[in-house]
């Protein structure tokens, strides 16, 4: 029998991600799965992103949609993925995906486009407890996007610029709207952009750390989501929480990966 494959689709607010997983011969590891394809489209729920991300993930491997034994959707737009057999909360999927990549993980900090979530992982990778930000863009990817626009820098350049900071500038407000005017007034005072960006990263870290302390931070700590790609925020968060934080080049795919893994679990319970 050929190895079974599953698809995990994570439709976020600003990006759609897809992972195709294949069973590998049992090598003694609990998770005998390998990633055969992954795709990311920078358009999220309500856009062409969900359809395109599936097409792209399939185009990059030798499988067709019909070959998928199970398709599981997650993320903000999970309810509108027609191809899916099932949908699950991204909190459960993130816990599962992070545990696959980092078996020692106890705390996951996920900063996405409009959400911040902190998860505590129990034994065997099960989600134990969690907290999410409420109705406020502070500390999210959206916050960083707004700041990048005001500062006329590219989002992907923020980490590099922040690393060159020489003077401490504090962005005290955690509200996106007020922080924006604070940044503008710092610019008007001729403060260096690099220092302002560093201050923005510390402001995000402060906000996220507050949330993380609500569930309690235990090692190993892993950061996921698009913002994990920004080493400036990662560093600021390490300082704020006084702990090492691991991340992965797959940080944006953790939800989709978890969905594809949970799809295997669903298959198992269907067959049982």
């Amino acid at each position: 029998m050929s190895a079974r494959t599953t698809m995990g689709i994570d439709i976020g607010s600003t990006a759609s991600k897809c992972i195709i997983l294949r069973e590998t011969p049992n090598d003694g590891r609990e998770n005998g799965r390998e990633i055969v394809s992954k795709a990311l489209i920078p358009f999220g729920a309500g856009t062409s992103g969900p359809v395109r991300v599936i097409d792209q993930a399939l185009a990059d491997c030798d499988y067709r949609k019909e070959d998928m034994a199970y398709i599981l959707a997650t993320g903000y737009g999970r309810n509108s993925v027609e191809a899916a057999n099932f949908e699950m909360s991204e909190l459960s999927c993130h816990a599962c995906g992070a545990y696959f990549l980092f078996p020692g993980v106890r705390t996951v900090i996920d900063i996405g486009g409009q959400d911040v979530k902190v998860l505590r992982i129990g034994k065997g990778g099960a989600l134990d407890t969690f907290v999410m930000n409420e109705k406020c863009a502070a500390g999210t990817g959206r916050f960083l996007e707004v700041m990048a626009r005001v500062l006329e820098v590219k989002l992907e350049d923020m980490a590099r610029l922040s690393a060159q900071s020489t003077e401490r500038v504090n962005i005290s407000s955690t509200c996106t709207v007020f922080a924006e005017s604070e940044v503008i007034s710092q610019l008007a005072r001729n403060k260096n952009k690099r220092d302002i960006i560093n201050g923005i990263h510390r402001s995000v870290a402060g906000r996220v750390a507050g949330l993380a302390r609500r569930v309690g931070v235990e090692k190993d700590v892993v950061m996921t989501g698009g913002v994990a790609q920004n080493s400036g925020v990662l560093l600021a968060l390490e300082n704020e929480l006084q702990t090492d934080i691991e991340t992965s080049p797959l940080s944006q795919y953790v939800g989709a990966l978890g969905a594809a893994l949970l799809a295997f679990r669903k298959l198992g319970s269907l067959e049982a």
Binding site: Y76, E90, K135
Partner: protein, 381 residues
């Protein structure tokens, strides 16, 4: 007369809970006067004893427009929507309102309401925080005395001791029936959905209590006759001020979470305690308030009594977790949250806190959290 089925009875409660306007108009058309009762701890027995209908006003789902003029945005929606309803003429048919002032949000509401709606007879009620000591009981009694006088003026008749005793009896019966229903609904979640459970309890605020008890007694006896339930989903306790949002309750139902108990201000907390026996009915009403406890709103010298109470309720009722519906901008709830969370964690009871207000339109984040919470609970079963 044929008996209504459980489903028919539940739908009847739901109709009433969803249409307070029709209820109010029905009582007015029948020649009754109605008195708006704002949260919390209004001695409704006095209204009944004056031959008027107490009508609950706990805000409403909607959008705040006119009331914005009177409040900063960080006021809870119960207060803001209460005034919004009045400004939009929705309370015009009432003959008066009783407005307690037990939290820092209700206090300014009372004064804003008074100046914004001068045409509506207004009854201010200040409960004492030191409610148990004899001087506290005396104070409550004097406050209730002034409520009584104003109600008598509106009704144009005196409230007699015997009418008040009779009202107390009707209310104690209603409380007992509602407590019994809460137990039965928890035991038969396949027959009583979270939305229906809420409708039964909420409708009591818009109904003559004797009528409500009669209908509820019929429902209770049918629920009692059901075979033992074999519920496969999870069981939760609800904590909060309000838990009547159909959108939120539907999410619980969608993920097979049964509400087996609650510590919600508008639900069980409102009928936990009967009015005790006493020769003087006014003293009896004051003693009931003196006995109230386990509430974010009430002074608690031990600070931690409600969290412990929630832990005990969870255990006693076999709930596996607690869903905390946290009213946005409710200081009393937010200030208590750390100790509540700590008590639940210590007792190894999973919990989730969902921010909620009456203007909420987007339930996506709540759905994500509740769905994940259902996963957490089922992984622990």
């Amino acid at each position: 007369m044929t008996m209504s089925t459980i489903g028919e009875l539940l739908n009847q409660f739901d109709m009433i809970a969803s249409n307070p306007k029709a209820q109010l108009e029905k009582y007015i058309a029948g020649g009754k006067q109605a008195i708006g009762c704002f949260p919390y701890y209004v001695p409704e027995e006095l209204v009944r004893a004056a031959d008027m209908v107490p009508f609950g006003v706990w805000g409403a789902e909607g959008t705040i427009n006119s009331a914005k003029k009177y409040f900063a945005p960080f006021y809870c929606t119960i207060a803001q929507m209460g005034l919004e309803l009045a400004l939009n003429g929705k309370l015009d048919k009432l003959s008066g309102v009783i407005m307690p002032s037990i939290c820092d949000t209700l206090r300014p509401l009372t004064q804003n309401f008074r100046s914004a709606i001068p045409q509506l007879p207004f009854i201010f009620l200040a409960h004492p925080q030191n409610r148990r000591a004899p001087y506290g009981v005396e104070y409550t009694k004097s406050q209730y005395g002034s409520v009584k006088q104003k109600l008598e003026a509106i009704a144009g008749k005196a409230i007699t001791d015997s009418a008040l005793k009779d009202a107390i009896r009707v209310y104690n019966e209603s409380r007992a029936a509602r407590r019994k229903f809460v137990k039965l609904a928890g035991q038969h979640p396949e027959s009583v959905s979270p939305i229906h459970r809420s409708a039964v309890l909420k409708s009591a605020y818009f109904m003559d209590k004797a009528e409500h008890t009669a209908l509820l007694t019929e429902l209770n006896s049918q629920l009692e006759a059901l075979p033992k339930s074999d519920w496969k989903g999870s069981k939760i306790l609800l904590s909060g001020i309000l838990a009547d949002s159909k959108n939120l309750l539907q999410i619980l139902a969608d993920h097979n979470m049964a509400v087996v108990a609650d510590d919600v201000a508008q639900q069980s907390r409102a009928f936990r305690l009967d009015v005790p026996e006493a020769d003087d009915p006014m003293t009896a009403l004051a003693l009931q308030f003196a006995g109230q406890d386990y509430d974010v709103l009430l002074y608690d010298p031990e600070l931690n009594k409600r969290p412990e109470h929630v832990v005990n309720l969870t255990r006693e009722n076999g709930a596996q977790g607690v869903v905390i519906l946290m009213m946005q901008f409710c200081d009393p709830e937010e200030m208590e949250y750390p100790s509540l969370k700590q008590a639940l964690d210590k007792a190894d009871i999973p919990s989730v806190s969902i921010g909620f207000d009456q203007q909420m339109r987007d339930f996506g984040q709540a759905r994500t959290q509740l769905q994940a919470f259902a996963d957490v609970l089922s992984s622990k079963r």
